[in-house]
Subunit: 152 residues, 2 copies
C-alpha cells in the first residue's frame, strides 16, 4: 500500500530533536535505540514487541524506558497509540501527512491500512449535522480476509 522508501525518517528525527531541545530533554543511547527501531518498523507494535526487538541489541533496557520513550513520541506527535480490543496498546509511527484507518481480520488478526476520502467527507457531514466540529476519528473495520475465507 505504501512503500517504506517514501517515509522520511530524517524528518522524524528532526522533529524529535526539536521537541527535546525545546523541552530540555536529552538524547540518550537508550532513547536513540528505541526510537530508531520504532521508526524502522512498519507494524503496530505493543510495548513488549518493541522491547523484545530493542533487547536484541541492548538486553539491559527495561520496560519502563520503552514505555517512557513511547510516551515521549506520543507527546510530540510522532507515534499514535491504538487499541484493537485485546487489552494492549499498540503503537505506530505517525508519518507526516499520512492518515489511515484499519481493517482487521477477525480470524488471523492481520491488520491492513486504508484511506478513504469519501468516508471522511461523510463523517464531517454527520458531525456538522449534529452540531459538532470534528477533531479526529477512529474507524476500524473487522472482517475476514481472503486467505482465511479460502481456508474455511
Amino acid at each position: 500500500m505504501r512503500a517504506t522508501a517514501e517515509h522520511d525518517v530524517e524528518q522524524l528525527r528532526a522533529r524529535l530533536n526539536d521537541y527535546m531541545a525545546k523541552h530540555g530533554l536529552r538524547s540518550t543511547e537508550q532513547r536513540r535505540l528505541v526510537t530508531e527501531i520504532f521508526f524502522a518498523t512498519e507494524e503496530h507494535l505493543s510495548i513488549e514487541d518493541l522491547l523484545d526487538r530493542v533487547r536484541i541489541e541492548e538486553p539491559k533496557i527495561g520496560y519502563a524506558t520503552v514505555y517512557r520513550t513511547l510516551k515521549l513520541l506520543k507527546d510530540c506527535g510522532l507515534a499514535f497509540e491504538r487499541h484493537f480490543g485485546d487489552g494492549v496498546s499498540r503503537y505506530e509511527v505517525a508519518w507526516a501527512n499520512e492518515h489511515h484507518d484499519h481493517l482487521i481480520c477477525v480470524e488471523c488478526e492481520k491488520i491492513v491500512e486504508f484511506e478513504d476520502g469519501d468516508i471522511e467527507e461523510l463523517q464531517h457531514g454527520v458531525a456538522a449535522r449534529l452540531g459538532f466540529t470534528l477533531v479526529r476519528h477512529k474507524l476500524e473495520l473487522y472482517g475476514m480476509c481472503a486467505d482465511c475465507r479460502a481456508k474455511q
Copy 2:
C-alpha cells in the same frame, strides 16, 4: 434520537432465556435484577455504574456478579462492550435491528449516537476492495459539541 418506547425489552428477555436454557444456565434473582436494570438504561454504563444502580435495590450484590452477568449478555449478543479510551469498559444494550456509531465531545465527553447508511455502504466497498468480508465495524468521531464551542 430514539425513543425508549420503541425498544422491545420482552424480546431481549426471550433471547436471554433461550440462551440460558440452551446452555443449562440458571435464572437467579441477581441475574434478573442486573439484566432488568441494564435493559432499562439508555446510557453507556461501566460495571461500576451498573453496580451502583443495582445496589440501590440489593446492596449485597458483588462486583463479580455484575461482571459475570455482563459477560453473559455479551456472549449472547445482548450487550456491546465499548472502549472510549479512558481505561474502563462501558456497556450498552444491543437492541435488535439497531446499529449506531458514536460521536464524542472531546470537551464535555457527551456521547451522541448516530447512524449513517452511506458511510456503511462505503465501508463495505473498502473492505471488498481489499479482499475482506466485513463482519462489523467501529466508528467513533471525536469533536467539539455546539455547547462547548459556545463556551469557549
